[in-house]
């Protein structure tokens, strides 16, 4: 109960942030808002300061995090029965880490928060997950750890490079300025970019580093999956935007073809894997791979539309896939199976659920007037401006998306009710109860609002993105 209240309070605070965010503030003057209290001299010996701040890009990501947390807690109200206290401790620590990652404007602080998220997530998957949870947790841990330790090395090297010219600091502003005055050589940039990119690409996840995702998502408890899909995946993309690309622009531009192709492969491969899945959750997990492929494509198109679209898609994916995992969790609590073959004809059994499911599904596909469309469209348009092949290939991903999602719906909801479903079992499958309505509704509202009134969001994102382009000399088109 307490954790519910505290997460709701946090959400409330972040809404206040939204209201106070000054959209007219010229980013050239104040890149980050809300940066007080900053303790620059937290650890002066090491050059680390407790510096935080939010701009248009991170604002919504923070909001997404604080929105999904109370929802996740509500969702776990009945499904987590053992060791409830530890569960909530882990979730709250996780939230701290997540908000910290988005808000940190000091590189070492960012790294600290990035690592802080690790253990709670491992515990969440490993203790409260389903059958293969230990395997999934260890896999998740190993993948993430390898990436982040390489990033750690790159951070140290960056600091060292700056200290050679007397500009040693971990603060983002300081690093940006220092790098402008004393840029790194292309070789150095390539290696460092690779180190950072590896770590973020694992998180995103980008093919071929995605193999931890299906296991982690399927074996995690509902709250874990929601948070993983909704927030954690975005951190990889955020890391690219905030750190990897601004620090190493030349290397990033050189990497465009590589990453774009990997993104396209992610999109198509992810979608194809969805078509053959037997497991409900794994299917949605692969769909995340596919959607995040879009995000990466948009970022590396390096066009205004592409990047804004990516940020928006991050948000919309968080909302829609988060909702999908919540729905899966709801039905799983009733039926205790994730095999799609065990389902069928549920539209008759749980009609309201099936309607909600359909709406969220459409959002995920990218139906215009729902949130998914805006992001995907902007990304495709942004990509089309620079490379038609990429855009065409990516667009096929949209079609495939519709294919697997509608196929899923048909197999689960439509048709005859599964004959294996005995009547006692059927009686247990109740439709949505009050608590579930409470936490699904905000997401549904958001899905529609984001789809119909996207300028409310993009207006705040755009100035930061424009600034991003001009500040780092990325060919803004």
């Amino acid at each position: 109960m307490f954790s519910l209240l505290s997460t709701l309070t946090t959400f409330g605070i972040s809404v206040v942030l939204l209201a106070q965010f000054n959209r007219d503030l010229d980013p050239k003057l104040t890149l980050f808002q809300f940066s007080q209290p900053t303790v620059d001299a937290w650890i002066p010996t090491l050059g680390i300061g407790y510096r935080i701040g939010i701009d248009g890009i991170s604002l919504f990501l923070v909001l997404l995090t604080t929105l999904l947390m109370p929802i996740a807690i509500l969702a776990s109200w009945t499904s987590v029965k053992e060791r409830v206290r530890e569960f909530h401790i882990a979730i709250l620590f996780l939230e701290t880490g997540m908000i910290g990652v988005f808000a940190a404007t000091d590189l070492a602080l960012f790294y600290i928060f990035w690592e802080v998220m690790l253990i709670p997530m491992v515990l969440l998957i490993g203790i409260w997950g389903s059958t293969r949870r230990i395997y999934a947790a260890v896999k998740f841990f190993v993948y993430t750890m390898v990436g982040s330790l390489l990033m750690f090395f790159a951070i140290l090297y960056l600091y060292f490079h700056l200290s050679k010219h007397g500009q040693a600091t971990f603060g983002l502003q300081g690093i940006y300025e220092g790098l402008k005055v004393h840029p790194l050589s292309l070789t150095e940039q390539t290696f460092l970019f690779f180190a950072f990119a590896l770590s973020f690409a694992i998180k995103v996840p980008l093919f071929p580093l995605h193999t931890w995702l299906p296991d982690a998502h399927t074996e995690a408890p509902t709250a874990g999956s929601v948070i993983l899909a909704g927030v954690l995946l975005k951190m990889g993309a955020y890391g690219f935007i905030r750190f990897a690309i601004p620090f190493f622009p030349d290397a990033a531009l050189a990497a465009v073809p590589w990453i774009s192709w990997l993104a396209i492969i992610s999109i198509i491969y992810g979608a194809l894997m969805c078509l053959v899945q037997e497991d409900f959750k794994k299917l949605i997990a692969y769909s995340s791979v596919s959607h995040l492929g879009f995000v990466m494509l948009g970022i590396f198109a390096f066009t205004q539309r592409g990047v804004v679209g990516s940020v928006f898609q991050m948000l919309s994916h968080g909302v829609s896939t988060g909702a999908l995992f919540l729905l899966i969790g709801i039905i799983y609590e009733r039926t205790h199976t994730r095999r799609i073959a065990d389902y069928g004809g549920y539209a008759k059994v749980v009609p309201r659920f099936s309607v909600i499911f359909f709406i969220v599904l459409l959002a995920s596909i990218g139906l215009p007037s729902l949130c998914g469309f805006v992001g995907e469209f902007l990304i495709l348009q942004g990509t089309f401006e620079v490379n038609r092949t990429y855009a065409v290939l990516a667009a096929s991903g949209v079609v495939l998306g519709a294919l697997y999602m509608l196929n899923l719906y048909q197999r689960v909801m439509l048709g005859k009710v599964n004959p294996k479903l005995s009547s006692e079992a059927r009686a247990k499958i109740t439709d949505l109860n009050f608590r579930e309505w409470v936490y699904l509704t905000p997401l549904l509202i958001l899905i529609v609002v984001m789809g119909l009134r996207s300028p409310w969001f993009t207006d705040l994102i755009e100035p930061s993105v424009t600034h991003w382009f001009s500040e780092f000399g990325l060919a803004g088109k």
């Binding site: 937290w42 650890i43 002066p44 010996t45 090491l46 060791r83 530890e86 070492a108 790294y111 600290i112 928060f113 690592e115 802080v116 690790l118 253990i119 491992v122 515990l123 490993g126 203790i127 949870r133 230990i134 947790a137 260890v138 841990f141 190993v142 750890m145 390898v146 330790l149 390489l150 750690f152 090395f153 140290l156 090297y157 600091y159 060292f160 200290s163």
Partner: protein, 518 residues
């Protein structure tokens, strides 16, 4: 003519912590004799055992006094000074390391409550040995004189050898102790010869005098000097457990009673690292003897790499938590050696500070882990396997969480103290240009995550058997629990606010460097 006073009062006052430790050891030993005669029917009577708490109490009191004296030295803030004709040097560095050694001793002594009784080891001799060892270690940290280095090293080594063999009924204990003793004897021989060569090359036995002479550009016999450095490095390398001088560690650590292992792994390492650091920093001077610096740097570089890789790789395959912790101690020595390499190569006025900084988190986390291990179960191989920790999070949630913290800190994950230790070490290494070393350090850290995480997984995610092995928090001796809690709190505190400790490390190392480059 002035009569030479071998015990001038100011000097005696300066070594009060050492005196307190020795006196406590002797007092406890003597009191134990009386305890035995009070309750003269054989050792199995309960009345006999129940008076022994006096020993623990006295020990804690004695260590407390020692700490008090040591901290007093800290806050008085006087400049560095020497005592006993230059045998001992008091600077911030020796003060800091003394405090760390005393911390290790205090933790050990508190953990003895309950532990000794359960394992039938409760004799005054145990405490006496402990205190003699601790006192000698403090002297080693303060040594300024080649003979003093050797004497203090040998004194505590002998005490520790006996402590290792304390549970003399078990074969592994005796085996471990014997290995330690024989190999230790050999390495002490190397050390002695090395120190003698250093004397021969430089003409003085006092480190500060040697340091000043080198800095002033005096002629020294180079080949003898380098030989001396190399041989002493063997001796020190043995004590800190660097590859390839590490082979005694797994057996000695496993054979010794777990509490003794904890004590050894923490205090011996701190003292030996302190002495080695002082040696390395004082005796190498780039302008005047570039060969010495080049030689030491290269050698220690290889030692560091070998230690890290070996320690981490072998720890992966251990099925005993105790042995895993022993190998983890070896790998942490490797990280410290990275710091030493960085210190030798760097020009910064605070070079070597990460080494000092690392000692405190290392003490807390390693001893904490050993304390928990010692507090549960009995001294037997079955109680030390990974499997015996299964399901501990349900039966002993507090201890499991504390162990989680130690594992996380050992692995170097923020926001714990272990993270800052590694961060600082690797940062200095990169700053000194040794980024391959930092990279190896990071890669081996990745490997280490696996075995640290393994314990976490076993504790939290694997179901225990029908009866949880150690059900209930009361099964852990309360001394161990208290120590574990304090250590964990310390780790988190340093993890969140490392600033002050960092400053202290920087100032400490500067006080050592005063002699090296005045």
């Amino acid at each position: 003519m002035d009569k030479f006073n071998p015990f001038p009062l100011e000097d005696v006052l300066k070594i009060l912590p050492v005196i307190a430790l020795f006196v406590t050891g002797t007092v406890v030993l003597i009191i134990d004799l009386f305890l035995r005669s009070w309750n003269s029917p054989g050792p199995s009577s309960t009345a006999f055992k129940s008076n022994k708490w006096i020993l623990s109490a006295l020990s804690i009191l004695g260590t407390g006094f020692a700490c008090l004296f040591a901290f007093q030295g800290f806050s008085s803030g006087e400049a560095s000074s020497t005592a006993f004709s230059g045998a001992i040097r008091f600077d911030l560095f020796s003060n800091t390391t003394t405090c760390i050694i005393l911390l290790g001793t205090m933790l050990t002594v508190v953990t003895t409550v309950g532990y000794l009784r359960r394992n039938d080891m409760e004799h005054g001799e145990f405490y006496a040995l402990l205190f003699y060892a601790a006192g000698a270690m403090v002297l080693l940290a303060e040594s300024n004189n080649l003979i003093m280095v050797f004497l203090s090293l040998e004194t505590f080594s002998l005490a520790v050898y006996v402590l290792t063999a304390y549970t003399r009924d078990t074969q592994r204990s005796v085996e471990g102790a014997l290995k330690y003793f024989v190999l230790g004897g050999v390495s002490s021989g190397f050390l002695l010869l090395g120190l003698v060569f250093l004397f021969g090359a430089t003409g003085s036995i006092r480190l500060d005098v040697i340091g000043e002479a080198i800095a002033a550009g005096q002629d020294i016999d180079l080949s003898l000097f380098l030989a001396g450095l190399g041989l002493s490095l063997v001796g020190f390398g043995f004590k800190i457990g660097a590859f390839p001088f590490h082979s005694w560690i797994p057996d000695a650590y496993e054979g010794a009673p777990t509490l003794v292992t904890g004590f050894m792994s923490v205090t011996v390492k701190a003292a030996a690292v302190a002495a080695l650091t002082r040696f390395a920093l004082v005796l190498t001077n780039v302008e005047n003897i570039p060969e010495a610096q080049a030689y030491l740097t290269e050698t220690i570089w290889w030692l560091a790499v070998g230690t890290m890789i070996f320690g981490n790789l072998v720890a992966l395959v251990q099925s005993s938590v105790k042995r895993m912790l022993a190998y983890s101690a070896i790998s942490h020595t490797g990280y410290i050696l990275i710091g030493l390499v960085a210190a030798l190569e760097s020009n910064s006025p605070a070079r070597g500070a990460p080494i000092v900084f690392y000692l405190l988190p290392y003490t807390l986390m390693t001893f904490g882990a050993f304390a928990i291990l010692s507090g549960l179960g009995r001294e037997s191989t079955e109680d030390e396997t990974f499997d015996s920790f299964r399901g501990m999070s349900k039966s002993n949630p507090f201890l499991a969480f504390v162990m989680l913290l130690f594992m996380v800190s050992l692995a170097g994950i923020p926001p714990t103290a272990g993270f800052w230790g590694k961060f600082y070490l690797f940062q200095e290494a990169v700053k000194a240009g040794h980024w391959p070393l930092a990279l190896i350090g990071i890669l081996t850290s990745i490997i280490s995550m696996y075995y640290y995480l393994r314990l976490v997984i076993v504790m939290y995610m694997q179901p225990s058997g029908d009866e949880s092995r150690w059900s209930g928090a009361f099964h852990c001796s309360w001394g161990a629990g208290l120590v574990a809690a304090v250590a964990a709190a310390g780790i988190v505190a340093i993890g969140l606010l490392p600033g002050r400790l960092l400053e202290i490390s920087v100032d400490s190392i500067k006080s050592v460097l005063e002699i090296a480059s005045p």
